[in-house]
Symmetry: C2
Subunit: 308 residues, 2 copies
């Protein structure tokens, strides 16, 4: 699966993933009003507004980027109706030719991790037929439970040609509380990075592994070290834009050939229409603003990589 | 919320939580056949079989135990139909007077953790009304992202009188890979335990905190140390029964008054009807076998605590 992502990055020239993390605050009043009228001013109406919002964004960016990353928490907040929109979003993105990274940060022990892996990346046989729960292409995975928690995901990746990104160093301010603690002279995230590289050798697909890593844009120096520790891991980089990461912070996450990393932006793209930087779209043109924001981000990263 | 759990433990005399972690393999053929006939041999049919199976267990154990712990992964494996069964199970257990611990092991950065917390423990205001996504009483939380990931859950606990159990030392064989690594002379899980105690002081409810901890029955010596490090944390103990933990391994997780811990068993109870130990129920009497298994577990723990 990682080779498909690499091909799409090369073809689009955009090592960018759009985070589809809707919130009611990001959605224009007119859209919400219409959805509430149609489905009720309740969880169903809110989930419909998420769907309409996502669809407008997807329709405006699908030709520019290789992948999207819906954050499942935003949908889980709305219970079952929200998760129906999550699933609809995954399916629609795939129809449009986008790869889908389910940002689910799951992780549990053996057979339970297997259930998550099957539900999100794999398939279940019932009777003579095979069914898929959510059917993303990639999922994010939490490593705290160790190999038993991660390997069931890798088995499913190998069986179904899918991929994962394991949390190594997250973009948030308190990520250092445990991740930066020193063990045998090196921070925990480096030990996790080493394991990611090892796990990844069990699922190689071209020059990279189906086992990638999450490393926050907000920690560029750590990204540099981790790039070396995990030569076969594609790095998914959150934290660009709204969380403070800039193009120039990202160069060390990439290899010399401009590959090896893919950068996520969520709010900076999906809520661009509301921002000062895109004033011309403040009247509610979500999709057009998202498209401009993607193009600007593409240029920012390309410029940074060119002057590396 | 933790005071409600403590009251129920005292009233039932059973520091036991039943893990509602259905699998198709655990469900009698006759039940599956009926559900597949009614709903189709597909995800909907499988989810209906989960529901019928859960209902039979709940109806037979609700008067014996204070709480249940559905493992959401098992339901996510079946996609949306599975999650509809998860929600139905949560609602039904609450109707029956059981507290519900959602074993969701979520954890993300700030606003994303907040979305999970709201979806599982809290409520969303849409228009003038308040809606709840999944509405469990407690949720399990992964600490790898640090305080930013955990505190949004604590805010919701304080606002809505709910609780969490943070993963400290998990029951699986490879949990030591990261959790046991030595930092400043002590294993990572002790540092996480210290944080749990600190976080917990922000959400006290009687003698204990709404912020509890998960510590596997399979590591009794570590349980002993963690009991002291986290005097205000209730300990949720998985790993009893099928994973190898026995009553005598559990004594150190409890305080002298017999409180301070609650022990989970999943397969050992819900699949008791299939086991050698409960031969008389091998013909498919799921509920009666579950009831016997709960009573046996209650006795095993009581005997162990009595001889402490």
């Amino acid at each position: 699966m990682i080779s498909k992502l690499v091909d799409k990055i090369v073809n689009t020239g955009a090592p960018i993933v759009v985070g589809l993390d809707p919130k009611l605050d990001f959605i224009p009043e007119a859209v919400k009003t219409k959805c509430f009228q149609e489905k009720g001013e309740n969880l169903e109406g809110a989930a419909e507004a998420f769907w309409q919002f996502n669809k407008e964004i997807i329709d405006n960016i699908y030709d520019l980027v290789p992948a999207v990353k819906p954050q499942i928490a935003m949908y889980e907040e709305l219970g079952i109706p929200g998760l129906i929109t999550f699933k609809k979003t995954v399916d629609y993105c795939k129809e449009k030719g986008l790869l889908v990274i389910g940002d689910i940060k799951r992780g549990d022990i053996g057979s339970t991790s297997e259930a998550y892996a099957v539900g999100h990346l794999g398939s279940t046989k019932i009777g003579d037929k095979v069914y898929r729960g959510f059917d993303e292409d990639f999922a994010t995975v939490n490593p705290y439970l160790g190999s038993d928690g991660v390997k069931p995901f890798i088995s499913v990746c190998n069986k179904e040609d899918r991929g994962i990104f394991v949390l190594v160093k997250t973009s948030n301010p308190s990520s250092g509380e445990f991740q930066d603690r020193i063990i045998d002279g090196r921070p925990l995230y480096e030990h996790v990075g080493e394991q990611v590289e090892k796990w990844g050798l069990e699922s190689m697909d071209g020059a990279y592994s189906n086992v990638g890593a999450v490393v926050g844009a907000t920690y560029p120096e750590m990204g540099k070290v981790l790039r070396d520790i995990m030569p076969h891991a594609y790095i998914l980089v959150p934290g660009y834009g709204a969380q403070g990461g800039k193009g120039k912070d990202l160069v060390h996450f990439f290899n010399k050939d401009g590959l090896g990393a893919i950068v996520n932006s969520s709010r900076g793209i999906i809520a661009a229409w509301k921002s000062e930087n895109y004033k011309e779209f403040n009247d509610g043109r979500v999709g057009e603003a998202a498209r401009c924001a993607v193009l600007d981000m593409k240029k920012d990263i390309a410029d940074a990589l060119a002057s590396k």
